[in-house]
Every structure is written in structure tokens, then in C-alpha cells.
């Protein structure tokens, strides 16, 4: 099946997303009080989005199986561009080749955002980690993902680490493989 690489162009203003997300986070901070719980919830929300977003990604790009983790990293990079309109760099590969990072110099989620001092441990961008984890789980890849550096905390870039855990063989539909 051949498809053009022009992706779907339906877009919304990024500030609508920024502010909607910001308001949701603010509401959670109010409801949950403990910032660590908020971080966990944000990861969960990202996961919920990821498991549905992968479908959208596959149908729009028509991309096939990944051959190796490098391939996967490239595809997630494309997904960043499609969904958030930013292009991260894939950096810091571990020597074993099972861990890498996305480095973002801008991020629509954190535009117009400032973290107050008492919320410095809040992982505002955890939603991205969750989305990566959720999306990859749906294609039988079990990964961990976490925020290493955060522009909201004064780091020059936002760095999101992804670590390959294992392939989820059990989830294969019968007849495959």
C-alpha cells in the first residue's frame, strides 16, 4: 500500500491546547494536593491518550513494523512533529542501545507556563512520557519513560528518556509470528 507522506493537516491553535492542559493540571493540583500524585495522574492521562493516538498515527502514516529501536525512535520523532508540531532530537543513546532521549528545545505544552516554587517537583510534562508508553504498548513494546530535564525547572532543554524493557509477546494475536 503506497501512501503519500503528507500528513493530515487538521490543526488547532496550540494555545488552546496549552491553556486547556494547564487548567487541567491546575485543577488536579487543587484536587490532589500532593504533586507526586499529580505527576502520576498526568502520566496516566498521557497513557490513555497514547493508546488511542497510536491508531491515529498508524492510519495516517501507514507505517509498518519497526526493525529496531532506532527505527522506533525515528517514528516517535515523526509523531512529535505530527501531534505537537515540534521536532525533537534523538540523543543520548545508551551503549547497549536500549535507551535514548528526546530533546525538545520548545514545547507547546509549556508555553506560557511557570511553575511556582512549591510545585518544583511536579513533572508537568509527564503526559508526554505516558503517551509514549501507551502508544508503544499497543505495538507490543514495553518501555519506561520519564522526564530527565525540564525547561520549566531552568534546564536548557526538555529531555524525555525512553528505556526499552521487553517485547510483549503474549499480546500477539493468534496466527501472527
Amino acid at each position: 500500500m503506497s501512501r503519500s507522506t503528507r500528513f493530515d493537516t487538521k490543526k488547532v491553535n496550540s494555545e488552546l491546547v496549552t491553556l486547556t492542559y494547564g487548567t487541567l493540571v491546575a485543577q488536579m493540583v487543587k484536587d490532589l494536593e500532593n504533586p507526586d500524585d499529580v505527576s502520576k495522574q498526568l502520566d496516566r492521562i498521557g497513557y490513555n491518550m497514547g493508546i488511542r493516538l497510536i491508531e491515529d498515527y498508524l492510519s495516517k502514516t501507514g507505517s509498518g513494523r519497526c526493525l529496531d529501536l532506532k527505527d522506533t525512535a525515528d517514528k516517535i520523532q515523526t509523531a512529535f512533529r505530527m501531534y505537537l508540531g515540534v521536532q525533537p532530537n534523538v540523543v543520548n543513546w545508551s551503549p547497549a542501545g536500549d535507551e535514548f532521549s528526546f530533546s525538545l528545545d520548545s514545547n507547546p505544552l509549556t508555553e506560557l507556563v511557570e511553575l511556582p516554587d512549591d510545585l518544583k517537583q511536579l513533572k508537568y510534562c509527564n503526559i508526554i512520557c505516558g503517551a509514549i508508553r501507551g502508544a508503544l504498548e499497543m505495538v507490543q513494546l514495553d518501555v519506561q519513560s520519564w522526564v530527565v530535564q525540564d525547561q520549566l525547572k531552568g534546564d536548557p532543554n526538555t529531555e524525555i528518556r525512553v528505556k526499552f524493557i521487553r517485547r510483549l509477546e503474549d499480546a500477539m494475536p493468534a496466527g501472527e509470528d
Binding site: 488552546l16 487548567t23 505537537l84 516554587d117 531552568g154
Partner: protein
């Protein structure tokens, strides 16, 4: 207040972005779906759910007032009722949703009430309403945004969302607003 050992530019020291950034609709739709689910999990009744969405929308709206007046209007605010409504319908809607709202109408029976109509609000694109909750309109989130903008610019009003010709936002101004407006007309 500690600066964490780093000298950082505060958000107010940076130049205001042009606001041309775009994010995929799928991404927003899924995020909004999570927002609705979050509110739903927190609420026990339908009005409760609507109130929560409305409240979240209001907080978004408050932040958009200055942002858009500075960016689109050089910081000049509106003082007349009709002008602020047209501002919401055109400039504001265009900046936020990429197009103008479809229609603005004045109520026949009540001079304090206006209707802003939109066939397909972006938040409702991918939402199907369960049968037992047919009165739920998640565009109440947008109604919250409009309300915050009107209240925040000195035109106190209540804004609600209804299923009528797509979605209709009913804007009910406080009596004082219309009174004041006709007074300034006479001068």
C-alpha cells in the same frame, strides 16, 4: 523566594509569542476527552459535570483576555456592548479557533440576551453523547471561556451552551450592562 541557584528569565521578560503555533486536532480531541473524563469522575450529577467544565473553560478564558487584546488590538479594550460581542465573534474566535463564529443574534424577547451560534464547535467534533445524557453539551467549556472574557472586560454575563442549530451559546448580560450601554449612547 529562592531562585534555585539559576538566573532565569521570567515568563514576563520574554517577548510575547505570535501565537501561530499549531497542534494536531487529534491531540486536542484526546486531551479534551481526558478533561471531560476527569470532570466526570469528580462529579455525581450532570449539572455538576457541566459546572466543572464551565469552570475550567472560565479559567482558560481569563488567561486569553489580555493575551488576545495585546496581540490583536494593541492592548485597546472595547467599551461598547455590541463591539465586545463582535470582538468575541470575530477577532477572538478567529485567533482561538481559526475561524469566526457562525452567527450572532439578539433575542427578540429579552434585550439582555444574545445568542452566539456555532454549527460544530471543535470540542464536540469527536464527542458522541450517550442517550441518557442527551442534554449534555461539552461546549459548555467554550461557554465558560466566553463568560470569562465578557466578565473580565467589564460586561458581566452568564453564558450557557445549548443544543440548537448546532450549538448555541446563550449570553445573558446583567441588566446594568445594557443600561450603561444605552446611557453612553445618549451622550
Amino acid at each position: 523566594m529562592s531562585l534555585g541557584g539559576r538566573n532565569r528569565l521570567s515568563i514576563l521578560d520574554k517577548p510575547l509569542s505570535k501565537g501561530k503555533g499549531e497542534v494536531s486536532l487529534s491531540c486536542f480531541a484526546l486531551l479534551f476527552s481526558e478533561v471531560v473524563q476527569y470532570c466526570q469522575n469528580k462529579s455525581t450529577t450532570l449539572p455538576d459535570l457541566q459546572n466543572r467544565l464551565h469552570e475550567l473553560g472560565r479559567r482558560v478564558g481569563v488567561k486569553l483576555i489580555d493575551l488576545y487584546f495585546v496581540r490583536e488590538r494593541n492592548g485597546k479594550r472595547e467599551t461598547k456592548l455590541l463591539n465586545i460581542l463582535l470582538y468575541v465573534k470575530s477577532t477572538f474566535w478567529k485567533a482561538l479557533f481559526g475561524k469566526e463564529a457562525d452567527k450572532l443574534e439578539h433575542s427578540n424577547d429579552d434585550e439582555n440576551t444574545y445568542y452566539l451560534m456555532e454549527k460544530e464547535p471543535v470540542v464536540n467534533r469527536f464527542i458522541s453523547i450517550p442517550r441518557d445524557k442527551s442534554s449534555l453539551n461539552c461546549a459548555v467549556f467554550i461557554a465558560g471561556i466566553i463568560e470569562a472574557v465578557l466578565v473580565g472586560t467589564g460586561f458581566p454575563a452568564k453564558v450557557t451552551a445549548h443544543w440548537h442549530k448546532g450549538t448555541t451559546y446563550m449570553i445573558k448580560f446583567e441588566e446594568s450592562v445594557v443600561g450603561r450601554d444605552s446611557q453612553t449612547d445618549e451622550r
